[in-house]
């Protein structure tokens, strides 16, 4: 099975001024694409050749895992952004965030802090455990919550390539910008379909 990138549901310049067109050109057009290309090359002739992406993530390691998880992680990240996003979620997700973190603002603060303090390259996730309880976790490099039996609900890429052209060493500034782009309707759907 050939792994392909999803088309982005917005133009590359649509997330300006929060994420620049140039950043997306590289992030989606080069990094995300390279992970997919590498994955397709690496699985050729292996037992993963016809496996679906999640199967590969759950069962592989090394280069195959890194590239498969990075394909998944980036898709999960990019698809949950939109121009004129942001604000707050509604309904069940909002209630669950308040229940788990005290308030929506507390959730935002904790998630942002997890993003700012992850050392090196990696991802911050809002996940649900087996009992549908919400948690914030960090994974380094290509790490993915599915490997720990946790279901991803939203994610933030804190590899330097996600923000270096826009905010350089100021990762917290990138995280502030991220909140302006979140597609909460989509994330509510992910949560409601748990």
């Amino acid at each position: 099975m050939k792994h392909e990138l999803p088309k982005l549901p917005y133009a590359l310049d649509a997330l300006e001024p929060f994420i620049s067109e140039r950043t997306l050109e590289f992030h989606y057009g080069k990094h995300h694409q390279a992970y997919a290309n590498n994955l397709n090359n690496l699985i050729e002739g292996t037992s993963f050749e016809n496996a679906d992406l999640i199967d590969i993530i759950m069962k592989s390691d090394g280069g195959i895992f890194n590239n498969a998880a990075q394909v998944y992680n980036h898709t999960f990240y990019f698809m949950a952004l939109k121009p004129r996003g942001g604000g707050q979620p509604r309904g069940k997700l909002y209630d669950a965030l308040v229940y788990s973190f005290g308030s929506f603002d507390n959730f935002k603060t904790e998630f942002s802090k997890a993003g700012a303090t992850l050392f090196g390259s990696g991802w911050v996730w809002l996940v649900a455990d087996k009992k549908n309880k919400l948690r914030i976790i960090q994974t380094s490099n290509a790490g993915n919550p599915l490997c720990d039996d946790l279901v991803p609900i939203m994610t933030l890429d804190v590899w330097e390539h996600a923000y270096y052209l826009d905010t350089q060493n100021a990762r917290p500034k990138y995280i502030e910008n991220f909140w302006e782009l979140i597609n909460w309707e989509l994330i509510e759907t992910r949560f409601e379909n748990l």
């Binding site: 890194n66 050392f119 390259s121 490099n141 330097e160 390539h161 060493n169």
Partner: protein, 200 residues
């Protein structure tokens, strides 16, 4: 006593066109400064306060992640600046060149192996040429700000050459093209400084 951000031994634009001035300025005045400040904060009130960086790294496994990450970041960048020079590049000579040839086959093979270690380190980290306790030379890479001086390093020894492959080291100029950055690094390597470390 606390650690201070070491001065860069040349101007921010001195490594142009290989490493650009803007990258050097942010890398030194923001990233390296950040590691230095955070290291001082992490050491405050611990039994490592006042110890030299070598001692900090040699017992890093017994201390917090903040000491490891910032102690490594402080040391690695200081070394990295010294290992580059506007008059760098080319190749080493004499017994150092001979040692590289003996260990890796030829200077070109050494360069290829080192470049490969740097290109294939997944995520953030460093590539190293290390002198082991038996005097032999080895190439390795470490994640994040780990280095061969740390007591729990997989390959332990004296760092002779180190290359920063965090994306912040090259993203403004090279973006996703890490291999191009690695080739440019070899145009500015300060082989005299590497040789000094090899001899010690």
């Amino acid at each position: 006593m606390s650690f201070e951000l070491p001065k860069l031994p040349y101007a921010y634009d001195a490594l142009e066109p290989h490493i650009d001035a803007r990258t050097m300025e942010i890398h030194h005045s923001k990233h390296h400064a950040g590691y230095t400040n955070n290291l001082n904060a992490a050491l405050t009130g611990t039994d490592l306060e006042g110890k030299c960086i070598g001692e900090v790294l040699a017992s890093v496994s017994k201390h917090s992640a903040a000491v490891r990450n910032n102690g490594g970041g402080y040391y690695n960048h200081d070394l990295f600046w010294k290992l580059m020079s506007p008059n760098g590049g080319g190749k080493p000579t004499g017994i150092f060149l001979k040692a590289l040839e003996d260990n890796f086959g030829s200077f070109e093979q050494f360069k290829d192996e080192f470049s490969k270690a740097a290109a294939t380190r997944f995520g953030s980290g460093w590539a190293w040429l290390v002198k082991l306790s038996d005097g032999s030379l080895k190439i390795c890479s470490t994640p994040n700000q780990d280095n061969p001086l740390m007591d729990d390093a997989e390959v332990k020894g004296t760092p002779i050459l180190g290359l920063d492959v965090w994306e912040h080291a090259y993203y403004l100029k090279f973006q996703n093209r890490r291999p191009d950055y690695i080739s440019e690094f070899f145009e500015v390597v300060n082989w005299e400084e590497a040789f000094k470390r090899f001899q010690d």
